[in-house]
């Protein structure tokens, strides 16, 4: 039962093959059994069982909604009313959210059951889930060595891959849904900027952050996205664009569709096996009738530079509110206001967060603004134009999701800049506000999952579902049946 996909669970519940309470108990038991992989920061067993009970009643009386009784895991940067919400930081160790984020509210309204809050890199800053104050998360694919799950949505990826929930929410600022999805052998979809409301998501970089589902199948992602997408008057950057039935894109013919292969994505550091997996995806789509087109995104080589200026700049301001004055951690013993700030932030934030605040503060400071921030905005525009002209020629772009598979703890890059290169293939979508999906394609020689990424024009998530499902169907990816530690 625990390996069922969301659509299978949905049917199972409706046909009363099992109840939501049974399902919820099963997952809670598994979460407890595999607590060493540390996927969850907070488990809401009582609330979940209560919600499952209510869902079972609704299923019984025929008032079930789209996700009625489906046990989900929620990344811990979504504000969940009455539930501790930490964003992976000591700063919010005891912070109980007083309101509900729009995305999680939509899930609750659709009848979903929340099992708990998943572990993540602190304030979503990381690509290996090793910056969380609540400890590392272990990739369920670990056999001989303990592998990182990727980040920042490492807890959500692990919870889905390890069957500790049916599906999970992630958030993606530079690759935080797609990269851990690839590392963990699951599907991860980052919606277009403005597609889902950011209200109640603890902000990393406001102009890049976007929600999305992390699921076992592409179909699950389609069902999930339909529930959480839509305009929200509480988020002025969300867009009033109709939400299509994404599931209906599955099975549509791809004959005549044009798939772009950007030559610049054969970047240094992309492993041979990843190149092979890319070719596998190309062949699948070609065999399905799509036309493969070589394209060029000349400015994409500046994506990382642009990303690592704008993202820390916005983060430096977004994280200023964690000052110990109104909520969250406050250091004891300060003798002045400035000292309280210094001590609180020195003790409350981890190293990676401090590093990015420093970088962000630097690139915005007088004398450097023009050289860095202002320049980055200009290049961002060029990258957007790059993609706009590419999408005049193609319907979607296919690339690997990551340059390599998951690495083992202790084998991660020791300098932060090399670590940042984990996002080299994913950041472009965030910079241009485009939707992206990562679909598992194969295992490498070490038995570690690899994923392929599809990008589409803004608000064309349906195209991602359509193409992603074809890759999924033909890849014969050997999904994990049980956690092997």
């Amino acid at each position: 039962m625990h390996t069922f996909s969301l659509s299978e669970v949905k049917n199972g519940l409706l046909w009363k093959k099992f109840s939501s309470v049974e399902l919820t108990k099963c997952y809670l038991k598994r979460i407890e059994k595999f607590k060493d992989i540390n996927a969850f920061i907070t488990i809401c067993a009582d609330k979940a069982l209560q919600a499952a009970q209510q869902s079972d009643e609704k299923i019984a009386n025929g008032t079930a909604k789209e996700m009625e009784g489906i046990p989900l895991a929620i990344k811990d940067l979504y504000m969940t009313r009455g539930i501790r919400t930490t964003s992976g930081s000591k700063m919010l160790e005891n912070f109980i959210a007083p309101y509900e984020s729009t995305v999680t509210q939509k899930l609750l309204d659709a009848g979903a059951v929340f099992l708990g809050k998943t572990n993540m890199d602190e304030f979503a800053m990381g690509s290996a889930n090793i910056t969380s104050y609540y400890g590392n998360v272990v990739n369920p694919w670990s056999k001989d060595k303990k592998l990182v799950p990727g980040g920042s949505s490492g807890g959500s990826a692990t919870a889905v891959a390890g069957h500790l929930c049916v599906a999970a929410t992630g958030s993606d600022t530079g690759g935080s849904i797609r990269q851990p999805a690839a590392f963990s052998g699951i599907v991860g979809l980052k919606a277009s900027y403005g597609r889902c409301s950011r209200y109640g998501m603890i902000a990393l970089a406001s102009s890049f952050d976007q929600a999305g589902p992390m699921t076992k199948t592409v179909r699950d992602a389609a069902i999930f996205l339909k529930v959480i997408a839509g305009y929200d008057e509480k988020d002025s950057t969300s867009v009033n664009e109709p939400v299509p039935d994404y599931e209906s894109f599955i099975g549509k013919s791809v004959k005549g569709m044009r798939i772009g292969i950007p030559k610049e994505f054969h970047v240094e550091g992309v492993s041979e096996e990843v190149e092979e997996s890319w070719l596998k995806g190309i062949n699948i789509l070609r065999d399905a009738g799509a036309e493969i087109v070589d394209i060029s995104l000349p400015y994409s080589k500046y994506s990382m530079a642009v990303y690592y200026i704008i993202q820390p700049a916005e983060a430096s301001a977004n994280l200023a509110r964690f000052d110990g004055v109104r909520y969250g951690y406050r250091a004891e013993g300060a003798k002045s206001l400035d000292e309280m700030y210094e001590m609180t932030r020195a003790q409350g934030f981890g190293d990676e967060v401090k590093r990015r605040i420093l970088v962000g503060t630097y690139v915005l400071s007088a004398g450097y603004y023009d050289a860095y921030y202002s320049q980055a905005l200009k290049v961002q525009e060029l990258i957007r134009q790059d993609l706009a002209s590419a999408f005049e020629k193609v319907d979607a772009i296919l690339t690997p999701t990551t340059p390599h598979s998951a690495f083992a703890f202790g084998e991660e890059p020791k300098d932060p800049v090399t670590m940042y290169l984990n996002d080299v293939l994913t950041v472009t979508a965030n910079i241009a506000g485009l939707p992206g999906i990562s679909v598992p394609i194969c295992l490498d020689k070490l038995g570690r999952p690899l994923g392929l990424q599809l990008l589409a024009p803004r608000f064309q998530e349906g195209t991602l579902i359509q193409l992603g499902e074809i890759i999924e169907r033909n890849a014969n990816f050997p999904s994990l049946k049980e956690i092997e530690l």
Partner: protein, 503 residues
């Protein structure tokens, strides 16, 4: 130290301060923070009401909880557009919000959402009256919208500070002038005029005690004909009196510095209301780097021409236009017209008075102005009341003035009537009739009384006849006294002249 202040009111409008070392010219620019009249805050739906218990008008957005997002209050935007139009500024169809980053305990987000590079209003001006009757134009640089911070309270405990976030997120307009003012007096006149226009527009109540209007004052001095001097900025001065005092203190301080071969530092200073002095708050070296950057949570503010035109239609007649019209339509003296127009409530009162009579004549308008600005204002002053709280309504004052004009009562009696009206709230005509205060306009009746007075003062009549003309006033006074002041003075004069010539 300052020997004389020379005002050379020639065309260049220079005002020089002359000391033993020569002349100095003063240059003043203002950044006025005007709180927008609006029921809810700039980016949240929390109430803006003044005087609520601490931290009761605070939404999650105002307290900067994790994950919250600002949503622009379009009414506040309309108010800023209205202000821009009322101050002759250009409304920019596209403007943008920026984050101004700094840490302070009463700034929950750790940044203020403001408009830095692209303000909603560019330019604009206010014409102010000078003593010699000429006007002078004070140009505006820009107006932008931003959110206010909360309040830190340091005087409640010896070792604790408290924060009240009720004000956090309230909409402000920052009105930035060009360095066009040349003296404390001129600055004060400018501010009064600005306040008056904002109140007319209904976009800011101008209430300085409640902090809904505050100013940062930039002052520098230089020798005439040379470049402007280094300016010092005095932060957050919140009354006309303090602004004048702060400027004058700064002028003296800077002259003293420069005349003793020192230099003025570019710095931020605080005005101490206790001592009337300014002191250093932050030097240029400590100047904050606000690290402005575009607010990513808000798209650019895009306005349509239609929206601006719709707002333009709601703008009432403003003081300058009203002054000109009152002068044109009713021949009111510029001084009176300006006084009436200076304050929206006063002008409303006056115009309600005019409307109370059918097609008011110029004479009536002038009399009404005199009675309002003279007698009624002295009643208001004595009782410490504002015109909106007047015991005598505009309509009732107009009726009183009309009674004088149609000779039902004399001006002298009218003063008594007004006092009775003030005390009772009754109408003039009721009081006049009830107390028999109507003027005596019958020639015969006045003649009868005058004859009695002349008969009782035969010797004085002889003296008058023999050339002591001044006694005419005595006869007028005595007769008036007999009629309890009710005789029509003109008729009384004529009657006495006739009787005395016949005597």
């Amino acid at each position: 130290m300052i020997d004389t202040i020379n005002s050379c009111n020639n065309c260049d409008n220079s005002v020089y301060i002359e000391t033993s070392t020569g002349k100095w010219e003063v240059v003043i620019g203002l950044e006025v923070h005007a709180q927008v009249i609006s029921n809810s805050k700039l980016f949240s739906n929390a109430s803006t009401s003044f005087g609520a218990s601490p931290n009761t008008n605070v939404s999650f957005v105002d307290a900067a909880l994790p994950g919250v997002l600002p949503v622009i209050n379009s009414f506040c935007v309309d108010q800023a557009i209205k202000t821009g139009l009322g101050l002759n500024g250009h409304v920019n169809l596209v403007s943008r919000f920026d984050r101004k980053n700094y840490f302070y305990a009463d700034l929950p987000q750790g940044y203020q959402i403001s408009q830095y590079k692209y303000p909603i209003i560019s330019g604009g001006y206010i014409d102010i009256d000078k003593e010699d009757g000429s006007t002078r134009r004070i140009n505006l640089e820009r107006i932008h919208i931003e959110q206010d911070a909360g309040k830190s309270i340091h005087d409640q405990s010896p070792n604790k500070s408290f924060i009240d976030l009720n004000r956090s997120g309230v909409a402000l307009m920052e009105i930035v002038t060009k360095p066009d003012m040349r003296s404390a007096e001129e600055t004060s006149v400018f501010l009064q005029k600005l306040r008056s226009i904002l109140r007319y527009l209904g976009t800011c109540d101008g209430n300085m005690e409640e902090g809904s209007m505050r100013a940062d004052v930039n002052v520098s001095i230089h020798r005439p004909g040379t470049e402007y001097g280094t300016r010092a900025e005095v932060k957050n001065v919140n009354s006309f009196k303090f602004i004048t005092a702060a400027i004058n203190f700064e002028i003296q301080r800077q002259i003293a510095l420069l005349e003793s071969s020192g230099t003025v530092d570019q710095e931020t200073r605080l005005f101490d209301t206790g001592t009337g002095e300014t002191r250093t708050m932050r030097s240029k070296e400590d100047a904050q780097d606000y690290r402005y950057f575009p607010e990513p949570d808000l798209p650019p503010l895009v306005l349509s021409e239609e929206r601006i035109e719709a707002i333009r239609k709601t703008i009432p007649e403003l003081p300058d236009a009203k002054t000109a019209r009152l002068q044109r339509e009713f021949d009111l003296p510029h001084y009176d017209a300006t006084l009436i127009s200076a304050d929206r409530e006063t002008a409303d009162f006056y115009e309600r008075g005019l409307k109370a009579v059918n097609s008011p004549s110029k004479d009536f308008a002038k009399m009404l102005a005199n009675w309002m600005l003279g007698e009624l204002f002295s009643c208001l002053n004595k009782s410490g009341k504002h015109i909106t709280e007047s015991n005598v309504s505009a309509e009732n004052l107009a009726e009183l003035v009309n009674l004088i004009k149609i000779n039902v009562i004399s001006g002298k009696i009218a003063k008594e009537v007004l006092e009775l009206m003030w005390e009772s709230g009754n109408k003039a005509i009721e009081i006049v009739e009830e107390r028999g205060m109507k003027q005596i306009t019958s020639t015969e009746e006045i003649e009868k009384i005058a004859k009695v007075v002349l008969a009782e003062n035969e010797s004085k009549v002889s003296e008058y006849k023999s050339g002591k003309d001044k006694l005419f006033g005595f006869f007028v006074g005595q007769t008036m006294k007999r009629t309890e002041g009710k005789a029509n003075p003109q008729i009384l004069n004529e009657v006495l002249k006739k009787l005395l010539s016949e005597a």
